[in-house]
Structures are given as structure tokens and as C-alpha cells.
Symmetry: C2
Subunit: 119 residues, 2 copies
Amino acid sequence: MAKKTSGTRTLKKNKLHFNGRIWIDMGKKAFLGYGRIELLEHIQRTGSISKAAAEMKMSYRQAWELIEDMNHTSAEPLVVSQRGGKGGGFALLTPIAREYIKLFKKFNKDFQKFLKSYH
Amino acid sequence: MAKKTSGTRTLKKNKLHFNGRIWIDMGKKAFLGYGRIELLEHIQRTGSISKAAAEMKMSYRQAWELIEDMNHTSAEPLVVSQRGGKGGGFALLTPIAREYIKLFKKFNKDFQKFLKSYH
């Protein structure tokens, strides 16, 4: 005979997955999300927009536009870069970019913890 | 002379908005999100899929497909309906649907609280 349980017995809680995503706007403009943070981290590691773009399977142009958008939204640049030249181009994260990465990662870590609390 | 503050002074925290959205999957299938919950609530209030669809500015067909998808994903139906006939059609939420609405709203309320804690 099947066991009878009460209340929420019919909710298949073991099969439910509580999901979501987060991002940070500045004013009313989209500013930082998972993709942009990943791009910044690739730039930090490679020192190059084109390498970072390649690792993320996006075009140089796409990466460049994301960076331009972040730089303008922030008013203070997140990435300083120079293209081409003898030694090749370079790209560096500014200190504020590293702070934004830290802030976003904390935000996301807390969010993942929140989601897990539902499982 | 401008005041000097330390550390995160350059993060425009007052302008940052911490945003996100949540949803619930069942197994690997999308199951409940803001739109579907809103649809269920309109059905609960109006007793009619076509009225609920109109209030959400979607077609009857769109609403019907969302309901079919939820019913199949859940295995137990969330909405029971009958179309047309003399007295017109009707649509009713099952008890489990009301439990899912409650669960999602609690999840979302806690999530909004989480976002606010970042402001």
C-alpha cells in the first residue's frame, strides 16, 4: 500500500532545480554580466584583447565593443589597450576593473549559495 | 580640495544596480518562470484561458502551449480546461498548481530580498 504523506507530497521537489542569473547595471545601462566578467579575466590573464576574444570564441570586434561599452558606462576605463605596433598590441586591466571583478564574483558566489539553499 | 577616500572609492556603488532573474526547471526542462506564473494567476482569477491570454497580450494558442508544456513537464496537470460549449469554456487550477505558485513566489520574494541586501 502506498504511503500517504500530507501537504506538498505531490510537488516533485527532488526533481525541481532552482536556477537563475544575475547581472549588474549602472544607472539604467547593462554593465556587468557573466560574459563580460569572463572577458575581463581572459584579458587579465593573456594581456591581449585578440587572445581573450579567441578564447571566448568571439570576434575581436565583438570583444572590443564590449570593452568600449564597459569603459563608457563606467566613466573610468576598465581596460587600457594599444593595438598593433612592433611588439604587438597589449591590453591591461585597471585597478577598478579588478575591483569590479571581485564585486561581481562575491555577488555571484552569494547568489549560488542562495540557490543551493533551495535544494 | 577633493576629499580623498580609500579602497573602493572609485566604484560608483550608488549607481550600481544588482539585478537578476530566477526560474525553476524540472529535470532538465524549463518549468516555471515569471511569465508562466503570471499566466497561472490570470487563469485562477478569470477561470478562462482566453481571458488570461488577452490580459497578458498573448494569443490563445501561445497560452495553450505554455499550459500544455507545464502539464506535461509536471506529469500531474496544473490546469484543467474545457473549451467552448454552450456556457463557454472554463479553466481551473489544480491544487498542485497553487502549491507551485506559492513555492515560486516564496523563491522570488527571497531572491528580491537577496538583491536588496546588495544595495
